[in-house]
């Protein structure tokens, strides 16, 4: 424990190193900006800053990315409250209540409440992450390839089940991603797969190019191709008033529930802030004495959603840092940053470079505190920024993407891949095929193959090995339960509808 506190202390000191601290400030600014501007998501912003991290050390790189992450999940609520335009899908519940509060004349207080709840959620989840991650990592060190496969399988299963409207589309997206992950030289047998004789394909398809293409280019094409889209021009110049301690005390149960939901959902691979935000809002509505008032400007709704969104950030970092398994698009890019610097996230990270890990923890703690200040100062500024033409912004985003993809290996082939996946990403959006399962399939697929094949080879082709060990067996059963849950739910729904129809 003392070691951990010492490491956290040195992490805090390292956070206030001029370069690291400026990375936090820049990251927060970029994150809040990206979150606030409709059409640019927090994930786009993390992808866009990735090429800038090539020349930095691992610590400033990760501080930059984590602060973009923390700022980005909060930023979308500003435009949601001010203009009824959520910056990201996760900010939709905030917008439902926040904009109504704005119309009732509580704009300053609504902004302040959003900032405070975000900061509380983010800060406490960072504390939980700091305490829980080393314990998780210790447990993870006892894992064999069977347990790793089971965890990756759980990640793949939850990606499909949570937050998608069509199970078929989610499965298709996931398996296409996993199939893309098999392109290149096979790790175990050294055989080229789906390379079509091309040497470039032998190194495989980098998930970063796919990620940049799908999330940035696809998004830009989707936003700009809509007919008759009006530019958003706001004339509002709001002030921000932080809530009093009494206000926060009155919402203590809501904040605690939001935090619990945020951290738990965030830690589940594939779930993320959007799911956390909607579930937290839904739960709050269920437990409320006046559920009918939700949607008309209720403080509980706003607080629940905002706390859960930022609460999920700390939770999402736990599987990444302790198991090397990214649970969301944002943490997947961060994993890319780790790998670019030659560091493999996972339980050994705590033994090999504890300084880096604890600086990230400290960075997240500091970041969430600074966010209160940033939120107070920037709300006025962001209402002005809404006037920047989207056309101009989008053109520059594509330029950044071209450079980002090229910078990966200084190879134009990566730019080709990025552009092609960008166009594919656009059509996936258009035809309502979720892209997140594909990305996670591409990342988790090779991991799943590695752990599966190693386990099977070492057990002499015994497929029951995953169910024979207590930990992996339990996780596998949970995963299978998750996979069959939608079908059972569908059958129950149908069963309930039939008597009604009769």
């Amino acid at each position: 424990m003392l070691d951990q506190l010492t490491l956290l202390g040195s992490g805090l000191l390292s956070t206030f190193d001029p370069l690291n601290f400026s990375m936090i400030l820049i990251g927060l600014f970029i994150g809040v900006l990206a979150g606030a501007l409709p059409g640019i998501t927090m994930l786009n912003a993390i992808v866009l800053v990735l090429p800038f991290t090539y020349l930095m050390g691992i610590v400033p790189s990760l501080l930059l990315m984590t602060s973009v992450y923390c700022g980005g999940v909060f930023g979308g609520s500003i435009t949601g409250i001010l203009f009824n335009i959520p910056g990201d899908p996760m900010n939709v519940p905030t917008t439902w209540e926040g904009y109504q509060l704005n119309k009732k004349g509580f704009v300053s207080k609504a902004l302040g409440m959003a900032i405070m709840c975000s900061a509380i959620g983010g800060f406490i989840s960072a504390v939980i992450m700091t305490v829980a991650s080393p314990l998780f990592a210790k447990v993870a060190l006892t894992f064999s390839t069977c347990e790793y496969f089971a965890v990756v399988f759980l990640g793949l299963a939850s990606v499909v089940v949570i937050g998608t409207r069509s199970i078929g589309s989610a499965f298709i997206s996931l398996f296409i991603g996993m199939l893309l992950g098999t392109v290149g030289m096979d790790e175990i047998y050294g055989t080229p797969r789906f390379t079509f004789g091309s040497r470039i394909m032998e190194t495989g398809i980098s998930f970063t190019t796919v990620l940049i293409g799908i999330f940035a280019i696809g998004e830009v094409l989707d936003q700009l191709s809509v007919k008759g889209k009006q530019a958003i021009i706001g004339r509002l110049r709001p002030k921000t008033t932080l809530p009093s301690l009494k206000d926060l005390w009155n919402l203590r149960n809501t904040i605690l529930r939001g935090l619990g939901i945020g951290v738990t959902i965030g830690a589940i691979p594939g779930a993320g802030a959007t799911v956390a935000s909607f579930i937290s809002y839904g739960v709050e509505k269920q437990v409320s004495k006046h559920p009918e008032k939700f949607g008309t400007g209720v403080w509980e709704g706003l607080a629940a959603s905002e706390t859960a969104i930022n609460g999920s950030t700390g939770g999402a970092m736990i599987p990444l840092l302790t198991l090397g398994i990214p649970g969301s698009g944002a943490t997947a890019v961060m994993m890319g940053a780790f790998l670019l610097h030659g560091i493999q996230p996972g339980p050994l990270l705590f033994a090999k470079s504890p300084e880096s890990v604890y600086t990230i923890f400290a960075g997240m703690l500091v970041c969430n505190l600074i966010m209160i200040l940033a939120g107070l100062v920037t709300a006025k500024f962001f209402s002005e920024l809404m006037r920047v033409p989207e056309d101009m912004l989008s053109a520059f985003i594509i330029s950044f993407c071209l450079l980002g993809a090229f910078a990966l290996r200084n190879d134009i082939t990566d730019v080709w891949f990025m552009v092609i996946f960008g166009i594919i990403g656009y059509f996936m959006r258009r035809y309502d095929i979720p892209s997140a399962p594909m990305i996670l399939g591409l990342i988790l697929g090779p991991l799943a193959e590695r752990y599966f094949m190693t386990s099977i080879i070492s057990s002499g082709n015994d497929f029951t090995i995953f169910f024979c060990r207590p930990m992996s067996g339990t996780i596998m059963v949970i995963s299978i339960g998750l996979l069959i849950m939608p079908f059972i739910r569908g059958l129950i729904k149908r069963g309930m509808k039939k008597p009604e129809a009769a």
Binding site: L179, S225, L402, M453
Partner: protein, 185 residues
Amino acid sequence: MTPDAPEKMKNRYSRLKIKPMMGPLLIFIASVYLYVLTGSMDENPMPGQMGPAFWPRVILILLMASCVIKALESYLVFGKGLADIGVESAPPEVSVLKLIGMIILVLAVVPGMEILGFALANFLFLILFMRIAGMRKMPSLIVTSLLGTVFLLYLFGKVVYLPLPKGNWIFNDLTIFIYRLLYII
């Protein structure tokens, strides 16, 4: 109503019913083709081992099954109202010409970077993209693109030290000239 109207309606209905299944069907066919390709990976399989084709084959079988699930879903939800299937509103209308223009431009900028070099290709790309996207004032387009390109050149060429593509033939010399002019090299 003409006598063959019910027949026409029936045909149209059948076509509409088949349309959402086209995507899964195409993916299914592609999966079958790729499954056949996996045969070449296992030329000399080690006895008692699954071989390099095992994992892709499992994925392809699961992908084919997913296509069947999706096709069934499309078939079952066909004819129901949007609200019944959880869609709040129809997707917004798309400007096809604008979309095609943007896609062509995004595709063209990649060989453009190789041939013209990043500096020139990006400058032209920014002007054309913003124009297609809807910006009208030519002077501001040119100034924004020029300043933006110079900014990116400094940022990636001077700060990040990324060896940006310089182009071929005369464009290589032109890019070097631009870099010298801007004190990038």
